[in-house]
């Protein structure tokens, strides 16, 4: 096939990384070098110790050859990330504003430019991991607001969107079809069997997709009144959304149900 099946619903993390590598970053060249014309831009002449902004993929090549130092962006500093982490916890219903490619770029830099960081790298790594987990939990919780009309998810970065994409698209599309068929059903005085069959198939898929997902919840936060066991928290949220999808009227025990990240007016 011209496009492998796993590429049809979403992008792979590698492809997201590819997109992130196009973002500009500041470097500090260690040697002077002549520029050249590239397909996407002109590579300027580099002068030793004069800051220049170039795409990340290029910065990484130069870095590997020891030709430059990368200027670590402000948002990858310990104090900034700590601030964001506190924001995340204080606003349980909102994602704090982080760069569009924050996870991907931080991974690229932590892999290839460790020596350019001013702060201890292990602390940055663990803070990023914490931030990621808090946000992942919020994103999962938001899944139960899924409906067939629309969903708003401000503040998520591209790779975080990419993670929920296959699930969200499938559920929304299926809910839409269910609603359409129930309309037909009302008109014709009987339900559409094939569509209801489709529903069970879908919930099956949902299980499959998330069967391997385990939240390693080392983050010490409280999710409102819901004090479900830590390790199972992510899954219980999922189950919430799962039952919702199936149309069961489950008791909503989450005090944050007026969650405004995913709101439906």
């Amino acid at each position: 096939m011209s496009l492998p099946k796993q590429l049809r619903d979403t992008f792979t993390p590698k492809e997201i990384s590819f997109l992130a590598e196009q973002e500009p970053i500041m470097i500090l060249p260690r040697y002077s070098m002549h520029g050249t014309t590239l397909i996407s831009a002109k590579l300027p002449n580099l002068r030793a110790l004069h800051r220049e902004s170039i795409p990340i993929w290029l910065a990484l090549i130069l870095k590997r050859q020891d030709k430059c130092n990368i200027v670590i962006p402000d948002w990858l500093q310990l104090s900034y990330l700590q601030q964001k982490y506190e924001d995340e916890i204080q606003n349980p219903n909102k994602f704090s504003k982080l760069p569009w490619h924050w996870i991907t770029i931080s991974k690229l830099l932590l892999d290839s430019a460790v020596d350019d960081f001013m702060d201890p790298v292990y602390e940055i790594r663990s803070l990023i991991q914490d931030l990621r987990e808090v946000r992942l939990l919020k994103a999962r919780r938001g899944l139960k607001e899924l409906n067939e009309v629309y969903l708003q998810l401000d503040g998520l970065s591209l790779i975080e969107i990419n993670e929920v994409r296959p699930f969200v698209l499938k559920v929304m599309n299926q809910l839409r079809k269910l609603k359409e068929s129930s309309k037909i059903g009302e008109q014709e005085m009987y339900g559409d069997d094939t569509e209801i069959g489709g529903d069970t198939v879908m919930s099956q898929d949902v299980d499959d997709d998330y069967a391997g997902v385990q939240i390693n919840d080392s983050v010490g936060i409280n999710h409102g009144s819901n004090s479900a066991g830590r390790s199972g928290a992510g899954n219980s949220y999922l189950n919430d959304s799962h039952t919702r999808v199936q149309g069961d009227s489950m008791e909503d025990d989450d005090s944050d149900s007026d969650d405004d990240i995913y709101r439906k007016d």
Partner: protein, 224 residues
């Protein structure tokens, strides 16, 4: 106006022309990236970006020339040109990846919807010449295969491959109601099933493609 002024004038115009070529290159790559993302996320085939690809392919040819020229003279300049070659080659690889994935995604959709596309003038216009040729030949081969293998053994009334009547249409069409992820460039509003949905600038939404199709086309919204 004395000589210096003329010189200065000349300098600024040539520099601004250089800069505009530079921004055009950057914009072109962004446009290609966005075109790729759109093909991957939107259910229907979009118009082929002929001019854009032509410009980028031309630039790629120049880069290949550059590589060929310089790898012959490698011994002379040594180090610096080596690094430059690495840079040029990696960029070439990156752009090639984008174009390849763009084309393959289109081919996937063309394969899937070829019967529908062939019967629809407007859809046909979205394909490049090469794509049209590909689609016709592919479809011919497929039809011949089906006919030879089993259709000829069926009653004549069951042999059609594009039957539209009855409950289920045999011709597969893109499902325009499939949801897509979008980011709004400006405030706005869309109607979905009689429900007004207000859009905030910079907001990220998931909604059916049919509702946002025009906004995406106008560029006031980008798909993610």
């Amino acid at each position: 106006m004395d000589f210096n002024d003329i010189l200065k004038d000349f300098e600024t115009t040539s520099r601004s022309r250089l800069r505009s070529d530079d921004t055009l290159r950057t914009e072109d790559l962004q446009a290609l990236t966005q075109a790729w993302i759109q093909e991957r996320t939107i259910p229907e085939v979009l118009p082929y970006e002929e001019d854009l690809l032509e410009r980028i392919l031309e630039r790629m040819r120049k880069q290949i020339e550059f590589i060929e020229l310089n790898s012959i003279e490698l011994q002379k300049h040594e180090r610096e040109i080596k690094l430059l070659l690495v840079i040029v080659e990696s960029e070439l690889d990156r752009v090639q990846f984008l174009i390849r994935s763009y084309v393959r995604t289109r081919l996937m959709k063309i394969d899937q919807f070829s019967v529908y596309i062939r019967s629809n003038e407007q859809e046909l216009k979205k394909l490049s010449d090469n794509e049209t040729v590909y689609m016709e030949r592919h479809l011919d081969l497929l039809m011949e295969l089906y006919n030879r293998q089993f259709l000829k053994n069926l009653p004549e009334s069951l042999q059609a491959l594009d039957e539209g009547g009855g409950l289920v249409n045999m011709v597969e069409k893109p499902d325009l109601h499939k949801p897509v992820f979008v980011k709004c460039g400006e405030n706005g509003m869309v109607m979905i099933e009689g429900e007004e949905v207000e859009l905030e600038k910079e907001g990220i939404y998931v909604m059916r493609y049919s509702a946002v199709k025009e906004l995406v086309k106008m560029g006031s919204m980008i798909v993610l």
